[in-house]
């Protein structure tokens, strides 16, 4: 099988057969596996950067009063933590998985547009550099929150411009990545791989990529309007010229709500790959999974104003957005049910990927429930902009997306490196993450219910105890991720040799190629029966 590596360099388009080495291999990379690897390392780096931001915030919040940070810098850190984690860590990590896995899973030799793939990756470090540099400009980085709400974003210093450019660039990167992914999935599947035979991860990414193409340009439009308001005298959101700041929120959340599903749908896909393998059963309700994913994507376009219940909306509007939001619980419930049913009476074993996948279901469900609480307009008006909301979206984003990413990493890393990871380190990583995650974020529910507002550098005395606990948990969670780094590095450097199939009950084309997956795979498309 490894013969796929070395034959025939005589195609007209033989760029895929070059084997550059050293830095050229990475800078001029067109191989989906190399690009996937770069995406994953980039996003891990960003996870650490965003995590350091978060730990600085938590250090300040360890005690009431101002100890180490000025409030202005605190606001910059909150904003940058959000931007870096959303656009730098979570989204590129999923694109990294898409690059590595989609061609392997559908039997394609590479992504459809290999050079564009390279470009969409290398835009990201540029955007990240812009964000980091913005700390150093006069007035510091943007401090308007990751949502970049007008009118604050119309008024801030040049750090805001850098953030706008960075988001533009990351948006362009995502759109190009999505075009690549859609084209690969629709046009380059192996013979016999019909749509309804595609692995769930591929399905979820197909739908996610469509969402990205639909909403990323809207975000680009919104921040372009902010930019022209700032520098070219337009008045989209600038009340001084008759603009309306609330309209920014409407346009932003038209992007923003689908965006949260962009960050969770591929996580659903990973869970749907991992759970059947370790339950040793087929995925329960495959087609209902596909329809549920599609319904979540469609519903995501009509619920944006639930982020804006406090902006003064007519009651009929509040009711519409409230019920539409609650409707999303139905397809999401279908998914949770299907995963549970997949495990039901399965011969389960609990290797690290499975632990993270089950942990994902457990903690994501808690985040889903608090989401329903927040969907209720009268409750939301009370809880809006409190730590309850912070707890909610960290339950779905950290425990949802990030845990699924960990599950996927442990699941496929033997295929990537050819070595088994250290199971003991993986289990330590899981349990430490799970426990410290809950120590960090569970008390935030109580803080929010008690009325502690988010995005402040200080708080009244009565919130002190819970905040101290939260900070201790946050440092524990941050340090736990070093175990992950250790496990990954150890796995790259050596370890037990992984078999081609790796897991006893793994199904899918990626397990038919050798471990580690050779540089070129499926040059001759496999036939799927």
């Amino acid at each position: 099988m490894s013969a796929v590596l070395d034959h025939h360099g005589d195609h007209a388009h033989d760029h895929a057969h070059d084997h550059p080495s050293g830095w050229r291999r990475w800078l001029f990379a067109t191989n989906h596996k190399d690009i996937g690897t770069m995406y994953l390392w980039f996003s891990f780096t960003m996870l650490i950067v965003g995590g350091i931001n978060a730990l600085l915030l938590r250090t300040e919040l360890f005690q009431p009063g101002l100890q180490i940070l000025q409030p202005e810098f605190f606001n910059q850190l909150t904003t940058m933590h959000g931007l870096i984690m959303v656009f730098g860590a979570i989204m590129p990590a999923f694109v990294g998985f898409a690059n590595w896995q989609i061609p392997l899973m559908i039997g394609a030799s590479d992504m459809a547009f290999a050079r564009m793939n390279n470009f969409s990756f290398w835009l990201l470090p540029v955007a990240a550099a812009l964000l980091v540099v913005s700390y150093l400009v006069p007035g510091g980085a943007t401090a308007a929150g990751w949502t970049l709400y007008a009118p604050l974003s119309v008024q801030m210093g040049p750090g805001m411009d850098l953030a706008i450019f960075a988001v533009h660039i990351m948006g362009a990167s995502s759109i190009m990545g999505s075009i690549n992914i859609i084209t690969t999935i629709l046009n380059m599947r192996a013979p016999g791989m019909t749509m309804m035979k595609m692995p769930m991860f591929v399905w979820t990414w197909l739908i996610t990529a469509y969402l990205l193409i639909a909403v990323m340009p809207v975000l680009a439009g919104a921040i372009t309007m902010v930019l022209t308001d700032r520098h070219f005298g337009t008045s989209f959101f600038n009340a001084a010229g008759g603009g309306d700041p609330v309209m920014y929120q409407h346009i932003f959340w038209f992007f923003g709500h689908p965006e949260v599903y962009i960050m969770i749908l591929p996580a659903f896909g990973i869970a749907s790959e991992v759970i059947p393998t370790f339950a040793r059963k087929r995925l329960f309700g495959y087609s209902s999974m596909v329809y549920a994913t599609a319904s979540i994507a469609i519903l995501s376009f009509i619920v944006w104003a639930h982020h804006m219940f406090t902006t003064g909306m007519p009651v009929t509007g509040q009711l519409f957005f409230m019920y539409a939001t609650m409707l999303i619980a139905v397809p999401t419930g279908v998914k949770i049910f299907n995963w549970t049913a997949t495990m039901w009476r399965g011969s389960m074993t609990f290797e690290t990927p499975m632990l993270f996948a089950i942990g994902f279901i457990f903690v994501f469900t808690i985040g889903g429930f608090t989401g329903i609480v927040l969907a209720v307009a009268p409750l939301d008006i009370q809880l809006h902009d409190t730590y309850y909301v912070v707890a909610h979206f960290h339950y779905v984003l950290v425990a949802g997306s990030l845990f699924a990413l960990f599950a996927g990493t442990y699941y496929w890393i033997p295929k990537w490196t050819g070595h088994m990871y250290d199971e003991r380190l993986g289990k330590w990583h899981f349990w430490m993450s799970m426990i410290t995650f809950n120590i960090t974020f569970f008390p935030m529910h109580f803080l929010g219910l008690a009325g502690m507002p988010r995005r402040y550098a200080d708080y009244p005395m009565q919130f002190a105890d819970f905040n101290a606990v939260v900070t201790i948990g946050a440092f524990g969670f941050g340090l736990s991720q070093l175990i992950f780094l250790w496990a990954v590095v150890k796995c790259i450097r050596g370890g037990a040799k992984a078999t081609d199939k790796v897991w006893e009950s793994a199904h899918g084309l990626e397990w038919t190629v050798p471990s580690p997956a050779p540089f070129h795979t499926f040059e001759t498309p496999p036939v799927v029966k």
């Binding site: 008024q155 801030m156 999505s178 340009p217 001759t524």
Partner: protein, 212 residues
């Protein structure tokens, strides 16, 4: 997989050609969708304006034509009093303040208050006042018969002008509302860049801890 490279290769090359073409077609379509959605973002602006116009929300500076008629035909509710607080903010080179800070009025009573506006620059300047109410639900019950916020105001250099606001509070105002705050912000209209810059300076001042 590598057992019969020659035949397979030819087929793969032929397939590669058609795949390449259909990939490029797909690329074109998706780029069109992305560009259309970028345009859609901008289209949302007139769309929302239209929605607000049709549904009558967000019409802060529109003259309330029925207000004078309403004021004449409304019984004054002597049984309760509502405190009206007046607030004024000038964005740009304005000095802007109400002559009284608060009044107690009966719902249904026709009340006049006066705001003073000074153009602190030597050049003529045009501005627009935007009203805002707290609590927000009271906006529907606060009917302005006459207001300088219905149109743009032009002041000569260093001119001081007194603007009356004539209003009546609808007696149907919910009983739990005891205080209404009416806040105006006066924005410069021509030379918006100047106003934005002032805002930016304010924000920058605040972010270095010197603002106020």
């Amino acid at each position: 997989m590598s057992g019969k490279p020659a035949i397979q290769d030819d087929r793969a090359a032929a397939d590669g050609g058609t795949t390449r073409a259909s990939n490029l077609r797909m690329f074109g379509k998706l780029v069109v969708v992305a560009c259309a959605m970028f345009g859609f973002g901008f289209l949302l602006v007139p769309l929302y304006e239209k929605i607000c116009e049709v549904t009558g929300i967000n019409s802060l500076t529109k003259a309330d034509r029925g207000a004078a008629e309403f004021a004449r035909n409304t019984q004054v509710d002597r049984t309760r009093k509502v405190t009206i607080e007046f607030d004024a903010n000038g964005r740009g080179a304005w000095q802007f303040r109400p002559e009284v800070n608060a009044l107690e009025v009966h719902p249904g009573e026709l009340v006049t208050v006066v705001y003073d506006l000074v153009n602190t620059r030597a050049v003529p300047t045009t501005g627009q006042a935007i009203p805002s109410y707290a609590p927000q639900q009271s906006a529907a019950y606060f009917r302005k018969v006459e207001c300088f916020c219905f149109e743009q105001q032009e002041l000569r250099g260093n001119e001081t002008r007194r603007f009356p606001v004539v209003f009546v509070v609808d007696p149907k105002l919910p009983k739990d509302v005891g205080t209404i705050t009416l806040s105006y912000t006066f924005f410069e209209v021509a030379g918006k860049a100047a106003a934005t810059q002032a805002g930016a300076q304010q924000a920058r001042g605040a972010s270095t801890g010197q603002g106020g």
